[in-house]
């Protein structure tokens, strides 16, 4: 540095203050010049264009050097676009776009009005700064900062800021989303005590933490978190409000650096703001003016050096209030609270947390957040979120474990009870006790014992061994090997004795023991044989429910009875009946015959004589009068199906469930279910289960009916009991496995299916089920191996292919499902149901024309199958051919309903509606006529789309949605999705429909399509987050259609995407990534019919 000394008039060396700006001169300033003036000089030159060419020369709305807020970037998003001052801040007059409707709140800082955005037609909130603050640079700056922070933070939990501008009178305003709901403070005040609805509040708290964590990740801290700043909507959505005190942390952030006021002024500005913000809260239940949530360092006034941990403290205080009823610092006056906060007096809070009776993890989390020293608290809100998530996951896991444990306990208890019963029953009939054991030989006199010596020992051993094996055999149920071993051991004893010198009495006793064993085994085996036939007959019915092929069911039944030894069709009915009457399971056999008879009377088999034969056999086998009355009711034809149903219902209502034999009740329930009254059947079975807790069939039937009604979670319990009673029953294990799989626990399901496969190695379907569970676990190569094994086991079995295809479509893999079904059709080209199954798969992927063709083929091959006609009609309706649909529906005869959810009547009325609308369609499409209401608009839209007029369709859908939000939000009818398909087509087809359609109107349609899809995705996400398992599965299945539907290809698949402008392409790719993420986050496989597909 030059040492030139200067004493001239211009010299400043040695002077204390700068003559120009009056500031003190630092003693080490360059060249003795005033550094501030030096900097000012630099600025001045910025405004001269030739000096630096800087672009910010133009005066911006808010002053020459407006602060610009830059938030920290996180690694997973693209850099934010910086607002430059040239970008239309407040260029638009308020009056041209927004209309203030009324005042919502008023306070020291300003007022909040409700406003309406005339451009977009939505309500919003408009925060306006007060007149007197207009000149105060600091307040203005805070106002602007609040807007900029709100505008740049994008999170569902942060109120979106739409615009920052100036009113015509000069006041500044912020336009933001209008939030409706109640504050957390109000909700907390409204509860009776801290125990009430704790879970709900913790869930709200979790969302608050997630929102704050997002802000922290952007380098923003809120500094004023409290329950009155948290809004809770009616669905539990949470918004953190009032970022007016937020600060952008210094990692390149500007906010604090541009400050030209001293710290003291800043503090008072903050206090003004804070007081203002509190006065604005005229909502009931809010806490006015107490800093009960403030971190100690904040209370001490160190606003400058706060970081995320100040917010963490506030979160801890909120959690404390949720758990104990009061925030961390509680005092009589605001001043007292301030004092306590400054001094970090938290012992009271900790004591309350200790005593509140909440889960220890939650209390510990609160305590950690409330640590007096910032360095002891969690570093930022995301750490708090992790703590919460871990806690909540633990809780959910514990709940689910508790449920499973209950089911297991019940099934174990059931198993034990059964075993005890069996033992008692057997013991009563067989002479056993008192024969064995060393004590039993005590009567032999010493001498003979000396003689018999070694033999005695051997015989004892053999008998003891036999006894033990017998115990194990009884325990294991029906394992024949153990019985054989037990008997062998007893025979060994006999042989030893025979060759010895034992007395005839001794030999006699052993002989009797052996005979007893053999009889026992035979009895058990007989029981087993009976159990096996009943189970087999039940699976015939189960399988029929899946494949729907009456002929196959017919031959399955015949085969089963033949295996049992009763060839029903060749024997005389009374002879067959007598044979069956002798069995302990005669009533069940008779029930099966009844079911079989119903099938034979159906249109496909049309075998009345055969049916009669079966029913006579049933009567002969089962003479129970009540059941015969039931039999009569089911078999009657006069009065028609309605009358029959009525009588069945009456029987159900009057049945004395507690005293009737269980079989009767299950018989009645099954009849009701077959004729479509599943709910009554379930109610009946429940009553029966209450009286006969351990009856295998009640539980298994109840499980089956619940599964068929899409209530797998409830079915789990009953299948578990059934499996407990009969651990070897493939029916129970398989049912339990399916129920557990559909409840979202694929790992446990896989274990069960493995057991099934072990039990019945010839059962190909067990492998398919296992494969399905493996698919749900994401192990697709293991799943493929199981599918291949199943196909190897039963290459000629169509159901194997069908089940595999369904497993794929359950996971949303439409392509694989279609492929598998095509393979099945190739193998079984003459099988109507195969074509029908392929058609379903095609329709689920959106390939409607191909689906219609396959349905037609199914009808051609099997004209008696009502279901084929029904679904052909449904597809034709979707394809816009209601007339053809009516023709198909006319071919469905009376009889069993072909589908539990979709009835011919529903489809007929729908088709007729459409037929009535058809003549008006051209006029409506051209806009000359208007639809009468929203439903009509929707129907016209569908017709228009089917007639290849996507532009008209999109327009009509928009009309329908505008008129009726319910139509728009009906996820199951997929209206919005269909609308999006139309919009995509309208937005990407080359030649427009009307002459002169332009590129930007196409772009508008594309945007509309994306908006609709996004809305659907959000709604689906909500359902995925909080629906039941079948609901989630339905949503997931619908979402997987999005990825393969040909109508969406122009905005999804690669070659077409490149034709779109880059920005659009990018946002589309993001969107599809979001869809993929939503799909993969869901691990519950769909059921066959999760929800009725009403898309017609």
């Amino acid at each position: 540095m030059s040492d030139a000394n200067r004493n001239g008039t211009g010299a400043m060396r040695g002077a204390e203050t700068c003559p120009d700006c009056g500031e003190r001169l630092p003693s080490n300033s360059p060249a003795g010049l005033c550094p501030r003036c030096l900097l000012r000089l630099g600025t001045a030159f910025a405004l001269e264009p030739e000096a630096s060419g800087s672009p910010e020369a133009g005066a911006s709305l808010f002053g020459a050097a407006m602060t610009r807020v830059h938030l920290r970037e996180s690694s997973d998003d693209a850099p934010l676009i910086r607002p430059t001052s040239a970008e239309g801040h407040g260029r638009r007059e308020l009056s041209s776009r927004y209309q203030l409707v009324g005042e919502l709140a008023r306070g020291g800082m300003g007022a909040i009005f409700q406003g309406r955005d005339l451009d977009l037609g939505r309500d919003l909130a408009v925060k306006v700064m007060r007149e007197e603050h207009r000149g105060q640079a600091e307040m203005v700056r805070r106002f602007v900062e609040e807007a900029q922070i709100g505008g740049q933070l994008q999170h569902p939990g942060i109120v979106p800021v739409h615009e920052l501008g100036r009113l015509p009178d000069g006041r500044m305003f912020i336009a933001m989303k209008l939030v409706r709901g109640r504050t957390l403070a109000a909700l907390l005040a409204a509860r009776r005590g801290p125990e009430e609805e704790r879970t709900r509040f913790v869930a709200v708290f979790e969302q608050v933490c997630q929102t704050v964590a997002y802000a922290h990740s952007k380098g923003v801290i809120h500094r004023d978190l409290k329950p009155s700043n948290v809004m809770v909507g009616s669905f539990g959505e949470v918004q953190v409000m009032d970022w007016g005190l937020a600060k952008v942390l210094d990692q390149g952030g500007l906010v604090d650096e541009g400050r030209s006021v001293s710290a003291a002024e800043d503090a008072s500005a903050i206090r003004t703001w804070r007081d203002g913000s509190e006065l604005m809260e005229s909502r009931p239940g809010s806490v006015l003016g107490t800093p009960s949530y403030m971190a100690p360092e904040q209370a001490r006034g160190a606003m400058d050096t706060l970081d995320e941990r100040a917010d963490v403290f506030a979160l801890g205080s909120i959690l404390c209030e949720i758990l104990t009823g009061g925030p961390a610092i509680v005092g009589a006056t605001a001043a007292e609270v301030y004092r306590m906060a400054e001094r970090a007096e938290l012992s009271n809070a900790f004591a309350r947390l200790e005593a509140c009776g909440a889960d220890p993890e939650l209390a510990a989390l609160a305590r950690a957040c409330l640590a007096a020293a910032p360095r002891h608290r969690p570093r930022d809100a995301s750490v708090v979120v992790s703590g919460l998530t871990a806690y909540l996951r633990g809780v959910e896991g514990r709940l689910r474990d508790a449920e499973l444990a209950t089911a297991r306990a019940e099934s174990r208890a059931a198993g034990e009870r059964r075993r005890r019963q069996l033992s008692l029953a057997l013991a009563a009939s067989v002479f056993l006790t008192g024969v064995i054991g060393a004590a039993g030989w005590g009567w032999m006199d010493r001498e003979r014992r000396r003689r018999l010596g070694a033999v005695e020992v051997a015989v004892n051993a053999a008998l003891a061994d036999s006894g033990r094996k017998r115990e194990r055999a009884i325990d294991a149920g029906s394992d024949p090997i153990l019985w054989v071993e037990a008997i062998e051991a007893a025979r060994r004893a006999e042989t030893l004795l025979a060759s010895s010198d034992a007395s005839p009495e001794e030999k006699q006793r052993v002989r009797r023991f052996l005979d007893g064993l053999v009889r026992e085994r035979e009895a058990i085996e007989a029981l087993d044989k009976d159990r096996r036939i009943v189970e087999r007959l039940a699976s015939v019915l189960n399988d029929f429910g899946v494949h729907g092929d009456e002929r196959k069911a017919d031959s399955d039944y015949a085969a089963a009875f033949r295996a049992y030894g009763v060839d029903v069709d060749s024997l005389d009915p009374s002879a067959a009946g007598r044979l069956m009457a002798a069995s302990p399971v005669a009533p069940e056999l008779a029930s099966a015959l009844d079911q079989w008879a119903i099938l034979r009377r159906g249109r496909a088999l049309h075998d009345a004589a055969g049916a009669d034969r079966l029913v006579s056999g049933a009567r002969a086998a089962d003479p129970d009068p009540w059941r015969n009355r039931l039999r009569d009711t089911v078999g009657r034809l006069d009065g028609g199906p309605a009358r029959r149903l009525e009588m069945l219902e009456r029987l159900a209502a009057t049945a004395d469930v507690e005293h009737l034999p269980v079989t009767s009740v299950t018989r009645l329930a099954t009849s009701l279910a077959i004729f479509g009254r599943r709910d009554t059947a379930i109610a009946l079975l429940r009553r029966a289960q209450a009286s006969h807790r351990d009856d295998f069939w009640v539980n298994a039937d109840l499980g089956r009916e619940l599964m068929a009604s899409n209530r797998p979670e409830e079915a789990v319990r009953f299948y578990a009991v059934a499996a407990g009673v009969e651990p070897q029953s493939a029916l129970a294990l398989g049912g339990l496995g399916q129920a557990i799989l559909l409840s979202g626990q694929p790992a446990e399901a896989a274990d069960l299916f493995r057991q099934c496969a072990r039990l019945r190695p010839e059962d190909a379907l067990a492998h398919v089920s296992l494969g399905s569970a493996l698919l749900a676990l994401g192990e697709s190569s293991a799943a493929d191996a199981e599918f291949a094994a199943a196909k190897r086991l039963k290459p000629k079995e169509w159901m194997v292919h069908d089940q595999i295809a369904l497993a794929y479509s359950d996971r949303g893999d439409c392509e694989a499902a279609i492929q598998e079904q095509r393979e099945a059709v190739r193998l079984f080209p003459a099988m109507g149901v195969a074509h029908k199954a392929l058609a379903h798969a095609l329709q689920s992927a959106g390939r409607l024309d191909e689906a219609v063709a396959e349905f037609r083929e199914a009808v051609r091959l099997d004209p008696r199958n009502s279901a084929s006609h029904l679904f052909l009609a449904r597809a034709l309706i979707e394809a816009g051919e209601p007339g053809a649909a009516l023709e198909a529906l006319a071919l469905i005869g009376p009889g069993r309903p072909p589908d539990p959810f979709i009835t011919p009547e529903m489809l007929v009325s729908r088709a007729e509606q459409l037929v009535a609308l058809e003549p008006r369609l051209p006029a409506v499409m051209n806009g000359r006529e208007a639809p009468a209401d929203a439903e009509e608009a929707a129907s016209f839209a569908r017709l228009a789309f089917a007639r290849n007029r996507p532009e008209a369709a999109a327009r009509l859908w928009a009309q329908a949605f505008a008129a009726s939000p319910d139509i728009e939000t009906d996820l199951v009818a997929m209206n919005r999705f269909q609308a999006a398909r139309a919009a995509v087509r309208a937005g990407t087809e080359g030649a427009g429909e009307s002459a002169g359609s332009r590129a930007d109107s196409r772009a508008k349609r594309r945007r509309q399509a994306i908006d609709w899809l996004r809305a659907d995705l959000a709604a689906s996400q909500a359902a995925l987050d909080s629906g039941t398992a079948p609901q989630r599965a339905g949503v997931a299945r619908r979402l997987s259609r999005w990825r393969v539907d040909p109508a969406l290809a122009p905005i999804r698949d690669e070659p077409a995407l490149s034709a779109l402008p880059e920005a659009e392409r990018r946002s589309l790719r993001e969107f599809w990534d979001g869809v993929r993420a939503a799909r993969s986050a869901n691990s519950v496989p769909a059921t066959r019919r999760s929800e009725p597909d009403r898309n017609f």
């Binding site: 001239g8 500031e23 010049l33 030159f45």
Partner: protein
């Protein structure tokens, strides 16, 4: 996932700044980037020194820690975490410095002296002399950092300016003119200076104007070297201005 071009890569008004070169480093071994960083450090080591001294370390310790810190930043690939569109060298350095030193009180790196580690050229006497002149009142270490940064920066600009005039053989003129660099033109004794330098008042006015222009350019260049792009220079000036308050 397609990315928007971060603004730091957009063509700047000035040629690629040193800081933007650092932040667009391909990786830790990017030689050019390391060199750019070294140059920046060599220019602005003093604020770090002052910061450390203010924390209570002795001059020797402060030197060591400054060297450590330099090596630490170079070696730890922290550069990769800086973002051109957002951060500036000063803010980045201060933050990293604070964090590094905050957790570092007990670590004695005296053992790791020399031997292949990159070193800054720090003149211990210069360092202490400057530090002694720092105001003694209670600013936070961060404020010290920013303040000394501002002063360092201004000092460098003035030095550059002086060297330019010296190279052109006009040191005498420089010394006269620099005294009035920031003065209000109305009150300045241009006549007096003109007499001393043997020229007309009019010439002096023009000369002063030229000096100011040159100064402004150099100042903005110097600042631009430490920020991501030219558009941020004004903001940085505001920040430095605030740092000099009080």
């Amino acid at each position: 996932m397609p990315q928007l071009q971060p603004e730091g890569r957009a063509p700047a008004r000035f040629p690629t700044t040193q800081w933007s070169r650092v932040t667009t480093a391909a990786g830790r071994d990017d030689g050019e980037a390391r060199e750019a960083l070294s140059m920046l450090f060599q220019a602005y080591w003093y604020p770090i020194y002052a910061f450390v001294r203010h924390r209570g370390f002795s001059p020797e310790q402060a030197q060591d820690r400054t060297q450590d810190f330099f090596a630490y930043v170079l070696e730890r690939d922290l550069i990769a975490r800086a973002d051109p569109a957002r951060g500036r060298f000063r803010a980045f350095l201060r933050t990293v410095c604070a964090r590094h030193l905050a957790g570092d009180r007990d670590r004695e790196n005296a053992a790791k002296r020399g031997g292949g580690r990159p070193r800054l050229a720090i003149d211990p006497y210069d360092a202490e002399r400057r530090y002694v002149l720092e105001p003694a009142h209670a600013l936070t270490a961060e404020r010290i950092f920013d303040r000394t940064w501002a002063l360092t920066l201004l000092g460098r600009v003035v030095d550059r300016l002086r060297r330019e005039y010296e190279d052109a053989g006009r040191s005498a003129r420089f010394e006269e003119l620099i005294a009035v660099l920031t003065r209000d033109p109305e009150t300045d004794p241009y006549a007096e200076i003109a007499r001393r330098l043997g020229t007309t008042e009019g010439n002096i006015r023009v000369a002063v104007h030229r000096l100011r222009r040159r100064y402004g350019l150099l100042l903005r260049e110097e600042i631009a070297a430490t920020v991501g792009d030219a558009a941020q220079v004004d903001d940085e000036i505001q920040a430095l201005f605030a740092a000099l308050a009080g």
